[in-house]
């Protein structure tokens, strides 16, 4: 396969995944900010939404303060924010156009239809909460459709594996980011101070990664920070956990390695990260410091992106 095709497929998948994550983040933030002040305290949830999206720096170059209006606009519709939902969908469509031959018609249809539909939204923005909710749902559904069509219609060959790698690398990054921003509420067991404030913070973390119901199925307990951390970092049955993303990344890279008859630094690096996740437990991670652990993970993860690019995409 052409290197450029693989690169486009990989980025296309990343952009769609990122758009969905942004929609989830906004959704979860809206829920928390709708609560009475006593439940959320003085923290500015919109600030933390910007942080988890990784765009706080560029946002504050344009705005004085973060509030619902300007953050929703910046994350959803802004043409100036390279990772706004709008720009993600635009970029996804441009990538799709340049690799149409590698996409199934269902995948192209999903992206192109979403792009056509969203044209109308970003010229007007959303004036009501209902409109906004509808928009956010639409973005999430687009991602589901895209993923579903890839899963159901693509040949299981390198095109599929490169696109899956994009999904898992981006997903790992998103999960790690939200953990990093919220790590201060994920305190070690002994220091835990439960209260409604923490509870809603925790549930918003889980909502952002679509794991609130999953939590209850896995732990059958009330929300506890160390269990949340365990779920999102180490539990490989949760599709958005770091462990699950790395299980998949290693598998995809191995499949490519077998198909091409050659392994390389990307395979080794991914396996290294997965092994570290496999051999960790939450105790060690808390000992080491959640923040430090996540920081290292984010750096390792983006390093894998660079290695994949060098090995296959250029």
């Amino acid at each position: 396969m052409l290197s450029r095709t693989a690169e486009n497929l990989y980025w296309l998948a990343r952009y769609v995944e990122r758009a969905e994550y942004l929609a989830r983040t906004i959704d979860a933030t809206l829920r928390v900010t709708a609560l009475p002040a006593a439940y959320i305290g003085k923290t500015n949830e919109w600030d933390s939404a910007l942080l988890t999206a990784g765009v706080a720096g560029s946002f504050y170059q344009q705005y004085e303060e973060a509030n619902e209006n300007n953050v929703v606009d910046y994350l959803s519709f802004s043409a100036n924010n390279p990772s706004s939902i709008r720009n993600c969908i635009e970029a996804a469509r441009l990538n799709s156009r340049s690799v149409r031959t590698a996409l199934t018609s269902e995948m192209w249809d999903t992206i192109n239809s979403a792009w056509i539909e969203l044209q109308a939204v970003w010229s007007k923005g959303t004036s009501t909460r209902e409109d906004l909710a509808k928009f956010l749902r639409f973005v999430q559904e687009t991602s589901l459709r895209f993923d579903g069509s890839a899963y159901r219609t693509m040949l299981r060959n390198d095109a599929y594996w490169f696109s899956r790698m994009g999904v898992h690398l981006e997903r790992a990054d998103n999960t790690a980011r939200i953990l990093d921003v919220k790590y201060h509420v994920l305190l070690p067991e002994e220091e835990h101070v439960g209260g409604p404030l923490d509870f809603y913070q925790w549930s918003s973390i889980l909502r952002s990664v679509s794991a609130l119901t999953a939590y209850h199925w896995v732990y059958r307990e009330t929300l506890k920070p160390w269990l949340i951390a365990d779920l999102l970092i180490l539990n490989d049955t949760l599709p958005r956990s770091l462990a699950s993303c790395y299980g998949n990344l290693v598998r995809n890279l191995d499949q490519i390695g077998v198909a091409y008859g050659r392994q390389g630094p990307a395979q080794r690096h991914a396996r290294g990260i997965r092994n570290r996740l496999e051999h960790s437990n939450m105790n060690d991670i808390f000992q080491h410091g959640v923040h430090e652990f996540i920081q290292e993970f984010i750096a390792d993860n983006s390093r894998l992106g660079e290695i994949i690019t060098k090995q296959y995409l250029i």
Partner: protein, 472 residues
């Protein structure tokens, strides 16, 4: 201007045989149903993304070509004649190109004047004496045909560089079959869907000698911003070949390779949709980033086939066009089956004088122009436009030819006020491989949607129709 030939109706009220079933169907179908399908067709085109870009049109980078749901129908007999004429014409085109870049018999015989070749910007001196694989120059030709009466098909243009529109021929058929299954059931329409197979077979057949027995074919596109990008990706997909951009290719030791996830892979045949000028910055325009540095030396070394060959523009130049009947006779010793439009060459003082005196009745075209840009349609132009054009013509007469305004035939077409006749032309696609020349029955029918208009180019607001050749 003469009354246009009506493809459906015989003057006096009778129908031409090929259209009888369609007429019956139209009578049974309420106008609302037709309108509903028209809208459905538009939605399908937009969703599939069958779009083209219009240069210099800032508000919409991607536009739909309007699609008319009423098919244009031709009898098998008419097609057989046309097919014979097209094959003859393309054979002559290929022989002419081979000759121009080698022995130049036709110049010595003084059939075509020297300066029209050597001073022509689309003539490529780099191709002098260059052997092209299997001596095929024009692998894909899109010959624009108009019909002026029951017997006569006339060639309007020979597109021998990178003719486009075949994706519309194929998609129009797909969409018609989806929307009008009952109409198809009532006709025996010759299929066009084997075009991609024929194209791939033709391309593989012209692989260079140094290629392996399983030659690798790729389609070279300028990229997503090109007006015909949709067609490029559509064809690559149907052919099952890589759609490459210049940056995906690299030349090493006079061989061409593409960059893949598994390393470099040799390419043997390039179906290029990039113009000569942009193919290789080392040979042609140095500022171009669309091409591949060194491609021309790989070509010279005989390690790559370019389809169409470099330098074919000389054959579809509008100044050369007027010599085509002589070219056919010279190489084949046969009478041309397809006629030419009478053409005045403005480079010849006698012709220029006539053209300047009759501007309001003529169509004047730029010799090197394409897509309906830079032309004057006398009968439809204002006085001021005609005067401005007159100045242009006087300044640079050799840049123009003139033709009478032809009464292009008309076909029934959906309009805001119901079915009405609109002018059409036809672009069939002629494929030439190492052993044979093939044409799938049909082509792209373009239709001028404005009443009375003769301009069918999509860039000028023309639309398309499905073209049916009846299998009798």
């Amino acid at each position: 201007m003469a009354v246009a030939f009506d493809e459906m109706n015989i003057p006096g009220g009778d129908l031409r045989p090929a259209y009888q079933e369609l007429a019956r169907w139209l009578k049974e179908t309420p106008p609302e149903a037709l309108e509903y399908r028209r809208q459905e067709a538009e939605l399908l085109f937009r969703r599939i993304g069958i779009t083209f870009a219009v240069y210099g049109d800032s508000d919409s980078t991607e536009r739909l070509i309007p699609f008319d749901v009423i098919p244009r129908i031709m009898s098998g007999k008419e097609w057989t004649l046309l097919e014979k004429g097209l094959k003859q014409r393309v054979r002559a085109l290929n022989m002419f190109l081979r000759d121009i870049y080698h022995g130049r018999d036709i110049l010595r015989a003084e059939i075509v004047p020297d300066d029209l070749i050597f001073q022509n910007p689309v003539f490529r001196p780099e191709m002098n004496g260059q052997q092209v694989p299997h001596d095929v120059y024009v692998h894909i030709a899109g010959i624009d045909i108009v019909r002026v009466d029951a017997e006569d098909f006339i060639v309007l243009e020979d597109n021998a560089r990178t003719p486009s529109g075949v994706s519309y021929m194929l998609e129009n058929r797909e969409i018609m079959m989806r929307l009008f299954p009952d109409l198809f059931a009532r006709h025996k329409v010759a299929p066009v869907e084997r075009y991609p197979d024929e194209l791939l077979a033709a391309l593989r057949s012209v692989a260079p000698l140094s290629a392996s027995s399983e030659p690798t074919v790729a389609l070279l596109t300028p990229g997503v911003y090109n007006s015909a990008y949709y067609e490029h990706s559509f064809l690559a997909d149907k052919l099952g070949i890589e759609l490459v951009e210049g940056r995906d290719l690299i030349v090493k030791n006079n061989e061409v390779f593409m960059r893949t996830t598994e390393g470099l892979k040799r390419v043997d045949v390039i179906y290029r949709r990039v113009d000569d000028d942009f193919l290789d910055p080392l040979t042609f325009r140095p500022d171009s980033v669309l091409g591949v540095p060194g491609l021309m030396s790989a070509y010279a070394a005989g390690n790559i086939t370019l389809a169409n060959a470099v330098g074919t523009g000389i054959a579809d130049d509008k100044a050369i066009y007027s010599y085509m009947p002589d070219i056919v006779k010279f190489y084949l010793g046969e009478e041309p089956i397809l006629k030419n439009v009478p053409t005045w060459r403005c480079r010849e003082p006698k012709d220029l004088a006539y053209v300047l005196d009759n501007l309001s009745e003529l169509v004047v075209k730029e010799v090197h122009g394409s897509g309906g840009y830079g032309m004057l349609i006398g009968p439809a132009a204002t006085k001021a436009t005609i005067e401005a054009f007159r100045e242009k013509l006087k300044r640079e007469p050799e840049g123009f030819i003139a033709q009478p305004t032809l009464a292009l035939s008309t076909c029934p077409t959906c309009t805001a006020s119901g079915l009405a006749p609109r002018h059409v032309d036809l672009r069939p696609f002629v494929l030439t491989g190492s052993k044979r020349t093939t044409i799938v029955p049909g082509g792209l029918t373009r239709v001028a949607l404005k009443e009375g208009s003769l301009v069918v180019n999509s860039s000028q607001g023309g639309g398309t129709k499905d073209t049916w050749i009846l299998d009798e």
